[in-house]
């Protein structure tokens, strides 16, 4: 069974079916989209099982490997003269990201149940976007990776521009252009890597066998890391993110903050650090410092926000900083923490944006001071908000704690070539953000959901409907499961990370 292809093709096929439905039948369109994404969740689950079956025997080998082993591989030559192939497969990290995406899009479709205006185009574009995301996670050919990467970014322009709110045209253009500059940098890096390795292949597994000249790594690594960092909201290239998220419609914010931003961290880890260990060694400390700024800047930015979406967007900048911080710390705990944080933040932020959409749909305002006391009116939504908030500030028992603990421990232990005083200082400074997070989460949620009901109209509002309960309930369940049983996720993502870290540890030099 070609699992990896199925993972990519299923949403695309769903998009085509959606396009074939007459435009007037919005209800049918929604159901088609839901059925397609539901089926995808099922397929992704089966693929995980298939991956698990194949990968378990290799668990011991993986600990000492220096190259990632791919499973469920399909390889077809595409442009043979340049060595471009349709090469798809999965390893633990990409499997986890596929599962995350599959969950988020399913909940995203549920959260978009109210979309009436041009519903056909909306769902088709949403599914096209998610096709690109799945494609990035399963492709192991740099050309194919790049193709999917751009497909994942571009539909955002229309999704925000048409269905967004506020200054949507500006936000859509800013987001698209900034992300495209990022992908331009990535392209420069890819072509340099391709040519330096002989110009015969874009196959990531083969490029990983090639030992790049340190001088080349020294300039390609920052180019690639910043290129991916733009999408991963790396300070100071994050400015598209608050505007974009605030203007986007609910499902798009969910997907974008939940999944698309993870492409940045994923690429930085998978292509940046994995292919260019010496570059990572040279630049690790620099990017740790930059991401520390990221973490604090996002957290302090969130304190000042009164719009729930901006609030969550700045919080995302802070949390995505953890991802890149983990990647830049160049050790196993940090890498694991980065991946865990990708999953945790993906679920958490999707939950937030879904809830904000639901609250906004009822109150028609997202301004925190205008809300207030909503907890009495809509207890389900408020409870979900609180659980998400607790995960966000790193409460043990929820996914955020596990991820952040890994990231901070990774940063604290540092690596062999950086003086510990630097990594430890940065880690301690970054850890302070947890306090700031607690401040803004508790203040924000308290203001919105507790106290007296601000507006008498709110008393007539309903709590979550069945579809809303289903989508938020699923996401909350994921947060809890990942928090209580983190071993499941760690076992899944760990094997490929050994390869990344073993390459780093094999570097000559050090202190």
């Amino acid at each position: 069974m070609p699992w990896a292809t199925a993972i990519v093709v299923l949403p695309l096929a769903t998009a085509l079916v959606v396009l074939a439905v007459p435009a007037g039948r919005a209800h049918l369109i929604r159901w088609v989209a839901l059925a397609g994404t539901g089926a995808h969740l099922f397929v992704a689950g089966l693929a995980t099982w298939a991956y698990w079956q194949a990968a378990t025997p290799d668990a011991a080998v993986a600990r000492t490997a220096t190259t990632t082993k791919l499973y469920l591989v399909e390889r077809h030559s595409w442009f043979p003269s340049l060595g471009i192939a349709y090469l798809v497969g999965v390893d633990g990290v990409s499997m986890a990201m596929v599962l995350l995406t599959s969950l988020v899009i399913f909940c995203g479709v549920l959260a978009s149940w109210q979309v009436q205006d041009r519903a056909k185009e909306f769902f088709a574009l949403l599914l096209l976007l998610v096709t690109g995301v799945f494609g990035v996670f399963v492709s192991f050919d740099l050309f194919l990776f790049f193709v999917f990467y751009e497909i994942a970014v571009l539909p955002m322009y229309l999704l925000i521009g048409i269905w967004g709110t506020g200054r949507k045209e500006m936000a859509a253009m800013k987001l698209t252009l900034m992300l495209m500059v990022g992908s331009a940098l990535i392209l420069v890096g890819f072509l340099a890597l391709w040519w330096a390795a002989g110009g015969k292949t874009f196959d990531l597994t083969q490029l990983a066998q090639f030992r790049y000249d340190p001088a080349l790594q020294h300039w390609v690594f920052p180019v690639v890391f910043i290129g991916f960092g733009v999408l991963g909201a790396l300070y100071p290239f994050h400015t598209w993110s608050p505007d974009g998220h605030a203007s986007a419609p609910t499902a798009v914010s969910m997907l974008h903050a939940g999944v698309l931003m993870k492409l940045g961290g994923y690429g930085a880890l998978r292509i940046g650090v994995y292919l260019l260990p010496e570059g990572a060694r040279d630049w690790g400390l620099f990017f740790m410092a930059l991401t520390t700024v990221n973490i604090l800047y996002g957290a302090f930015g969130a304190i000042r926000q009164t719009d729930l979406k901006y609030f969550t967007a700045y919080s995302s900048v802070s949390h995505c900083g953890f991802v890149l911080f983990g990647v830049a710390s160049c050790n196993l705990l940090g890498a694991k923490g980065a991946v865990l944080q990708m999953v945790s933040h993906g679920v958490m932020t999707a939950l937030f944006f879904a809830l904000i959409g639901m609250v906004y749909g009822r109150t028609h305002t997202r301004t925190i001071p205008e809300l207030g006391g909503l907890g009495r009116v809509m207890p389900w939504l408020a409870t979900c908000f609180y659980i998400g908030g607790m995960a966000s500030l790193g409460l043990p028992g929820l996914s955020g704690f596990v991820a952040e603990a890994h990231v901070f421990l990774g940063g604290f232990f540092g690596n062999a070539w950086t003086p510990p005083v630097y990594t430890r200082t940065l880690t301690i400074v970054a850890t302070l953000s947890v306090v700031v997070t607690a401040v803004y989460v508790l203040r924000g949620l308290g203001a919105a959901f507790q106290g007296p009901v601000r507006d008498p109209h709110y008393l007539h509002l309903n709590d979550a409907t069945l579809t809303e309960r289903l989508s938020t309930g699923l996401l909350v369940a994921a947060l809890v499961v990942a928090g209580v049983l983190p071993g499941l996720l760690i076992d899944l993502v760990e094997p490929p990370l050994f390869a990344v870290v073993n390459r780093l540890n094999a570097l000559p030099g050090g202190l």
Binding site: I151, M173, M180, A184, A192, W195
Partner: protein, 474 residues
Amino acid sequence: MPTLALPELLVLATALLVLVADLFVDDTGRKRLLPIALVGVVGALVALVALVPDSGELLGGRFAMDPLGWWFKLALLVAAAGVLCLAQPAWQGQGTVDATLPNRGEFLAILLFNLAGMLLVPSARDAVTFYLALETATMPLFLLVAWRRDAVGAEAALKYFVVGALASALLLYGLGWLYGLTGTLDLALMAARLPTTPAAYLAMGLVLGGLGFKLTLAPLHTWAPQVYTGAPLPVAAWLGTASKAAAVAALAVVLYRVAGPHAAAWTPAVALLAALTMTVGNLGAVVQTNVLRLLAFSAVSQAGYLLVGLCGATRDGAAAVTYYLVVYVVTNLGAFAAAAVVHHHTGSQELSAFRGLSRRHPLLALAMMLALFGLAGIPPLGGFTGKFLLFSVAAQAELHWLVAVAAVNSTVSLYYYLRIVRQMYIEPADAAAPQTPTAFLPGVALAVATVGGVVLGVVPWFYETVRVAAARWP
């Protein structure tokens, strides 16, 4: 092998037929001349694909066919067919008055003569044929640009003529120097004897200057925006596609066939020119509100991308340039065809004419969007694959800075292409806007261009075939 020149002969025969038939028909009959011309061009296209081998010589080696020349001719004939298709409503006087093409039979004949000259360019093997082919590929354009016979058209044509005459003089002067330096008109011998003296640099500079005008290389591009808006829209499309293709063919002849052995000497200059051209073109396009001016600047920047592939004079580079040229012609035709349809409907060339197009004409808007994304280089369209290949040539030449400049430029270009997309998809539809159906032939051109843009990007056969051809070239 007489079939070798069959496409050229068919085009010439059609041109003469149209010219003579024009004497004997009235205005209604004249409307039927365009389909006849189209049949001739499509016939030439079929002949090229079915009958013409991709190598051989005629007339004692003065007219030669080579594997890449075959692809250049394919691009030219496709461009001709596309332009004739999109000119149909204008030719038949449909749509708004502004968009009408004054209905005189010579138009088609001049266009076809022009095409014949362009087809000769990649087949030229000596300097005189080369120069004559280029002149035939340029002179008729002066007439076509002035076709509306109004003040704007006349000004555009005059500007084009003055700059064009200067460029022609530069080219001729440069070829003269080359002849003086090498003592031969034969391009292959010229290459063998070309010295690396300052005089040779001067000669090459003059030739590049002459061709740079045709290809709108900065700083010789300044005529383009005004000429595109002053000329009738089909002529602008013709300038933006076929004329570019002929210029690229000529540049390939000069850089590969004549100066190929000295690639290391001219590559830095060409790389700089490429970076300059794409940057100037893109920055110019950013502020435009007229679609044709925007497409003119966009075409300038595309010329810059094409130059990237010539860096280093490698076979991979030749393949990438040829492939991108085909993609560019097809994609740009799509954009021009959509602009032409909108122009016929609304009579306006402003960006605002595209307002709400996705509601009124979903398919037309989709075709335009895909064409623009193709020009911007968004996967999985041919424009992306082509640019990727061009950039990979620069990476092979270790010109990583050029890759960066080109890739960032693509982002800039996305900005102004998205401005049109925004008008079509995001802005609400104008209730008063007419709901005119798209005419048949422009519809066909749009459909072919859209499907072609996707197929070229995804199906590897085209590039791999071009690459095999490039391996046997020059």
